[in-house]
């Protein structure tokens, strides 16, 4: 297994398996869980956001956007 790294280090088009979700607002954590995003799930980096805005991710075929600030709290191991 690869060293865990920040989700943000993923290049667009590549995927990582979530290793840890650190500091996170509880509402957001629950919502991510609802979308199937939790430790162990695979996320794809799709696109960097406009002007430092939210990034687009995909998990289980669902596209969604979250802010950079929160994306920084997610650690993945690159697949």
């Amino acid at each position: 297994m690869n060293q865990p790294t920040q989700l943000l280090n993923l290049k667009p088009g590549t995927a990582g398996s979530i290793y840890a979700i650190k500091e996170m607002n509880p509402i957001l954590r629950q919502r991510l869980y609802d979308l199937g995003v939790h430790e162990g799930s695979t996320v794809f980096m799709k696109q960097r956001g406009p002007f430092g805005g939210p990034i687009t991710l995909e998990c289980n075929g669902q596209l969604f956007g979250i802010r950079l600030k929160e994306a920084k709290e997610i650690e993945v191991s690159i697949c």
Binding site: P50, F51, G53, G61
Partner: protein
């Protein structure tokens, strides 16, 4: 009578199915959070009632629309549930299904978006799924109505059907579940006790709240704590909600690996290609602005105004002539004659000529809603919105607000944080709704003929700019607390169906026509009566009428803004009922037979600077009566409702003052 409830994840097509199964029609769109309250309709085969609930991911609500669904399940006893499941997102959708199966009422699983799943190379083995879950599963394409007759016929048989028997083994938590069940034994009117116990242990706030007065919560807490200690000793996830979730996730993973084949799954090709352009890091926002500009070009210059001119010709020509002749024929008194022609035809007809612009605007908004672009706009706008203390999701109600502020305020329910929701609700009235459009069309048509779309666009931009500015002020001084959060689901793009667009446009436009037949009609009669009567009796010179007296009280206040006439004063006063009435009032005051005549009169009474100042004032000055009502309902606070009116009036006054006095200084009069 039987009642059935539609439950499922957001944006899985519940309302589309509701519309095909029932005789009613509700609002549909392609983003998460379209339905924000429960809607009830009658099934087409007369088999009972169907309740459409807001979309939820789990029974644990995060936003206000979601708690509607959880509350419904706790308080009502539906004959059966219809769980809509998105076949292309099976794992995620089943998380909710498990909780619904545990609920213990008969249930049908509607496997929707079979076409989307098939296109993406996802194959679901319906028989195997049915076998393992033990409930009927019906494949569906809700948008086209495929499979809906099967749902209707299955619902007929449902009262005789047995309850689902799915029972997951929660291992170390089973003892706690049994303990809670025995606590619940004496409480009446509860859904399935095992379900309640699980929801309690999972800390579902709605269920905790509902039971707080019925059972001893300290006992529940003790049971939870004991169980969590046990979990910890066994080296398992140490919080009960996490443990319950992980048991479910494991079950779903097993189920999906046996009942679903994703080996030939393809990515969302079209969606990804479109997103590469539409949400591009640098081009995304400019593209959005270009779309907005085109929206106004189409609504005004290209299609709306030419059509509107035709309609005006028709109303002021054949229709008015016909009415005049008919009145002469029946020998109507001069009073009746004046009431109908100068009051109703002028007031209502003057607003109806703007039907083309309003319907085109609604059509374009329906297109944005149905295509999937709505969620992208919230993504694009998030940085800007974050800078002023809100989040990008608030932009969805803002866009809906361009159509009408009332549904926009409702749609703010899907915003997770209460502070963000309140802030959004308070700012929505600054979004220039379709009712303000006749005012702009009238004034821009007179004073800014060659740049109509641009001038109208400037009003919308002014509204948004003020919303952002005030958002910063309110979030820094009034509503400061936790920082906002943002997460948005991006649905696949789809080409809206003509039928859906027409229906969506008509449903929005219907409201305008209804308003024309009620509030605007009533307002016109009232205004005409006030203009016809005065302290000196009936049939007075208009300058001596009650209307002139009332409007005259306002005039000195409005003078610094450039429109200190009683005519403007009374238009603005009556415009509180509905902003279109500003135009109705002007039509009656300047009583002229058609739009051209009115434009001539207005050109005499205003300069272009005054007109611009007046337009800005109408944009900002107060939410209309209906919006005030819905703000009161959604905030449940008179204080915030009055605040929303108060700040708007002050803001309108300041901005118009700046425009008029500033313009004067620049020599623009």
């Amino acid at each position: 009578m039987s009642s059935f409830a539609l439950v499922g994840n957001p944006n899985t097509g519940k309302t589309s199915l509701f519309n095909t199964l029932t005789t009613s029609y509700e609002y549909v769109g392609n983003w998460a959070g379209v339905t924000v309250e429960k809607k009830i309709g009658d099934l087409k085969n007369g088999g009972g009632q169907l309740v459409d609930l807001p979309g939820i991911y789990s029974l644990h609500p995060l936003s206000r629309d979601e708690s509607v669904a959880a509350q419904y399940l706790m308080e009502e006893t539906p004959s059966a549930l219809i769980n809509i499941v998105d076949a292309s997102q099976l794992e995620r959708n089943l998380t909710l299904s498990i909780q619904l199966l545990e609920y213990g009422r008969p249930i049908i699983l509607g496997l929707n978006m079979m076409d989307v799943a098939a296109n993406r190379g996802i194959h679901v083995d319906i028989h195997r799924l049915q076998e393992q879950l033990g409930v009927p599963i019906i494949p569906l394409v809700a948008r086209t109505g495929k499979g809906s007759s099967k749902v209707l016929s299955t619902l007929k048989e449902i009262p005789a059907a047995a309850s689902p028997e799915l029972k997951l083994d929660y291992g170390a938590a089973e003892a706690a579940i049994t303990d809670i069940e025995s606590l619940l034994a004496t409480t009446s009117c509860l859904p399935n006790h095992r379900w309640v116990a699980l929801q309690l242990l999972a800390q579902n706030p709605v269920i905790l709240q509902a039971l707080s007065s019925k059972i001893d919560m300290n006992l529940v807490n003790d049971i939870s704590k004991n169980c969590e200690e046990q979990l910890q000793q066994m080296g398992l996830p140490s919080s009960l909600p996490d443990w319950i979730r992980s048991v479910r996730t494991e079950f779903i993973e097993k189920l999906c690996s046996s009942a679903m084949d994703r080996s030939s799954q393809k990515p969302h090709n079209l969606t990804e290609r479109l997103d590469n352009i539409l949400t591009h890091r640098y081009f995304g926002i400019p593209i959005f602005l270009i779309f907005m500009f085109l929206l106004f070009k189409v609504t005004f210059d290209w299609i709306g105004n030419p059509l509107s001119d035709v309609l005006d010709g028709f109303i002021s020509g054949p229709v008015s002539d016909g009415i005049n002749k008919a009145l002469d024929l029946v020998g109507a008194s001069s009073f009746t004659h004046a009431l109908i022609v100068d009051g109703i035809v002028a007031g209502v007809g003057g607003v109806l000529v703007f039907i083309p612009q309003i319907f085109i605007l609604f059509l374009i908004i329906s297109f944005i809603e149905d295509s999937g672009y709505m969620a992208r706009v919230s993504l694009l706008m998030d940085s800007l919105m974050e800078a002023v203390g809100l989040n990008g999701k608030a932009f969805i109600p803002f866009i809906i607000g361009f159509g009408c502020n009332v549904p926009a305020v409702m749609s703010a329910r899907s915003i997770e944080q209460p502070k963000d929701r309140l802030l959004t609700t308070l700012l929505i009235p600054l979004m220039s709704c379709s009712a303000r459009l006749p005012v702009y069309a009238l004034f821009a048509g007179v004073f800014f003929q060659s740049h109509q779309a641009l001038v109208v666009l400037s009003m919308y931009v002014l509204g948004i700019a003020m919303a952002l500015l005030l958002c910063k002020v309110f979030s820094s001084y009034l509503l400061k607390n936790e920082s906002s959060v943002f997460i948005v689901e991006l649905p696949p793009y789809r080409l809206p169906q003509g039928r859906t667009l027409m229906r969506g446009t008509w449903e929005k436009g219907k409201g305008f026509l209804r308003k024309a037949g009620t509030l605007i009609l009533g307002g016109s009669v009232l205004i005409w009566l006030l203009s016809y009567s005065g302290p000196g009796g009936f049939g007075v010179e208009m300058n001596n009428s009650f209307l002139a007296k009332i409007g005259g009280l306002m005039a000195p206040l409005l003078a610094p803004l450039g429109f200190g006439t009683w005519q403007s004063g009374s238009s603005l006063l009556t415009g509180f009922l509905a902003k279109e009435i500003v135009v109705s009032t002007m039509n009656i005051i300047y009583h002229v037979p058609n739009m051209e005549g009115l434009q001539g009169q207005i050109a005499h009474s205003f300069t272009s600077l005054q007109a611009f100042s007046f337009m800005a004032f109408v944009l900002l000055y107060t939410p209309c009566l209906a919006t005030v009502g819905v703000i009161r309902k959604e905030t449940s606070s008179w204080r915030w409702t009055i605040f929303s009116i108060g700040y708007a009036v002050v803001l309108a006054y300041l901005i118009s003052l700046i425009i008029y006095q500033g313009g004067h200084l620049l020599g623009l009069s």
